[in-house]
Symmetry: C2
Subunit: 204 residues, 2 copies
DNA sequence: CCCGAACGCTACGGGACCGTATCGGCCAGG
DNA sequence: CCTGGCCGATACGGTCCCGTAGCGTTCGGG
């Protein structure tokens, strides 16, 4: 009953989730087939059907297995924390395999409730990191208390995700800084004097 | 050789494009099948194959057939023109059938060059409307000449498209105004004094 | 050491689409 | 009127994928 007692099951399971993530990233959710997952992972199709109820469940677990959780910094500077937060989430989450999966996941989420919940959870989770940073700034008095936090998060995340998913361009540090500075300027937080778009603190 | 001499061909063609758009909006590009298009449109599968080389070509033409082109206003007020522009494109383009097609199109565009060009063209076209408005404001002196127009468009369009496609929420007039005002404040253009997010001019 | 549980392999029937061929019917131009 | 060209309907072989069954094998705990 203990978790660590399984060994070859566990290895097989991981191989299946890996192959699923790879396939979804390559050909999308729809074109991902159990047969292909089986042949890539080296796990028999029978075994996959024994362990996963449906392709959707499989995809959900595969996404969870490769989701990155950023470290939310607390430097005392709202601007630096936001830049760090969005550099982290955007780079680590939307680059690499998960980035290639997102569009297909969001598309499939329109029709499958299971995947719909998954995408919503992922989106909410990402937003919560930024929300935390902003609420801390409000508590410090760096932002007015009546700021619409949800709106601010949308103003910050929107251009970055749009750049990545719709325009299919790299999200550079300069873009992140420019977005953060633009939004903060509306609330009276000025960007650093040296250079218009500022430079990212080296720890990213 | 004249266009108006075809009649039943023309009707059939339109029925096929309509059915294709409906299907893509409902079930996505991948699950859209020629058989189903045939049965919905009442046009024989044979005829469809005679007139369209591939499903991708068919989808491209279907999208073109239902693309809305907004009227770019020129009121002399940058703020009003931007709000009008983005209200128009976001509402008319991303609501309705085209809105339901976009995610699936963008996903499919990752793998099919034909659809990739289509999505890119659509995106560029939308951006050009905003670009026009902004460049006119620069010419008037309402904005500094060294403004990064491309960045501004991204800052404006990003939150709206993100709200629509990723969060699956309605893009309200209030959101459009809030986004425009936030971005313009960075460049010294102040929102109207009455109310924080401003009210949309009635002509939208 | 040994037995049971889980796995790998192969094979199967069924279904969905594809793209094409065949043929009969209908509409338009000459 | 009548003929050529386009359309509609049907049918077909082929391919891919599904989900399950049967059976031999292998690994791990007792």
């Amino acid at each position: 009953m203990v978790e660590s007692m399984q060994s070859r099951s566990q290895r097989a399971r991981q191989a299946v989730l890996d192959a699923t993530a790879d396939l979804v990233a390559e050909v999308g959710v729809e074109r991902t087939t159990i047969d292909e997952i089986a042949s890539r992972s080296g796990v028999a199709k029978t075994t996959i059907y024994r362990n996963f109820a449906s392709k959707e469940v499989l995809v959900v677990e595969a996404v969870h297995a490769c989701t990155y959780i950023p470290v939310v910094t607390d430097t005392g500077s709202l601007r630096d924390d936001l830049i760090s937060c969005f550099s982290g989430t955007t780079k680590a989450s939307y680059d690499g395999r998960l980035g290639d999966m997102m569009l297909s996941l969001m598309d499939a989420a329109q029709r499958d409730p299971e995947l719909g919940r998954l995408v919503r959870a992922q989106t909410d989770q990402r937003r919560r990191f930024a929300t935390t940073v902003i609420e801390r700034a409000i508590a410090r008095g760096d932002l007015p208390a009546d700021v619409d936090v949800d709106l601010v998060v949308t103003l910050l995340a929107g251009p970055l995700i749009y750049t990545k998913l719709v325009r299919r361009q790299r999200v550079t540090d300069e873009l992140v800084a420019a977005v953060v500075d633009t939004v903060l300027s509306r609330y009276g937080v000025a960007p650093p004097a040296d250079g218009q778009t500022g430079t990212l603190s080296s720890k990213v």
